[in-house]
Symmetry: C2
Subunit: 197 residues, 2 copies
């Protein structure tokens, strides 16, 4: 029996479009005192959601991205995740980072219906990564901080050779790649995918 | 000595941004009777150039891409090569094709200073490919129509598993990937690359 058929959980590969994570303070500055995020779509990871609220991002070339989706719940830091194509269009020289590792990254201005909010840092290109429960990590023989390979089949077959592993008992097995990566391999719902060490 | 050091020619990997190839008739319709393309930048492949002239492409969602670069010289068919990110923004359901294989692909409207030109078909996402002289093909042990792998190193290490091989005595060794593929692997001038069977 192929290895993957014995896996404790099915492998989901999802494309993360550009989005932001905000602190409660940023949400209030942008949407008004007492404002909170309103879930409109629950995501695969526990308690994570796409919010009804979006912001406008102003980049260094004075170009903007409107309707940038906020993902909730609120976090303890503000972070914007862009694909490299977005970054180039906006004029950001954006580094590849793991989520939460934002020291020294570019800042930006956000605009909401209640006003502006300046981020001193936090604009990143998120490194492609896989969320795993400890059971999945045991099955694949990896630990948090390791790198794996994601093989994507189909007419634009592509292997992502540095898939960062994140392990947490709250996580469900899910790969996150960005829109550039998803479009490069032309990922469709029925495209074959395989995660290997 | 590593294999690549014995190669007859250095391996160049270049990113092709969206562009179009036009017939002389299309150039005249868009730029006026007797109009021809003006080279402003010679490309790596013999006699190929980026033209001074650009067109505006109107997609099915009535969205446009302005300043779409024309590559010369003129060809016997009209073809527009977009990355999937471009296609999605414009509203095209664009197939992955080899250059010149445009039967059944979407059409579009082009706009130039002298008027419109309607393409009945020809909008594609070009499959990633490698141009090779027969000497290169002999070295790598491949022939036209084969597929190879392109391994790209660096922080976003990625392997393109279906690199289409094109062989012609006029060709110089050069890989063409599109902007989605180039951005997915964060290709820089010093990023290590390797072509393997």
């Amino acid at each position: 029996m192929p290895h993957a058929f014995r896996a404790p959980n099915p492998l989901l590969v999802n494309i993360s479009a550009r989005h932001c994570h905000l602190t409660p303070e940023a949400v209030e500055a942008l949407f008004g005192k007492g404002a909170t995020l309103t879930p409109i779509k629950w995501l695969y990871q526990k308690d994570q959601f796409a919010a009804k609220e979006t912001v406008t991002l102003v980049g260094p070339r004075s170009r903007v991205i409107s309707n940038l989706r906020i993902l909730g719940p609120c976090r303890t830091l503000n972070q914007i995740e862009l694909a490299l194509t977005d970054s180039i269009a906006l004029g950001f020289d954006v580094p590849i980072r793991f989520s939460g590792s934002i020291a020294g990254t570019p800042g930006c201005m956000l605009m909401g219906p209640n006003g502006f909010f300046e981020m001193k840092e936090g604009v990143i290109r998120a490194a492609p990564h896989v969320h795993m429960h400890p059971d999945d990590a045991a099955f694949y023989g990896v630990k948090g901080g390791d790198f794996m390979r994601l093989k994507v089949g189909g007419p634009c077959a592509t292997t992502f050779d540095r898939m960062f592993v994140r392990v947490d008992p709250e996580f469900k097995l899910e790969v996150h790649i960005d829109t550039d990566e998803g479009n490069a391999c032309a990922l469709q719902p029925d495209t074959p995918v395989e995660l290997t060490k």
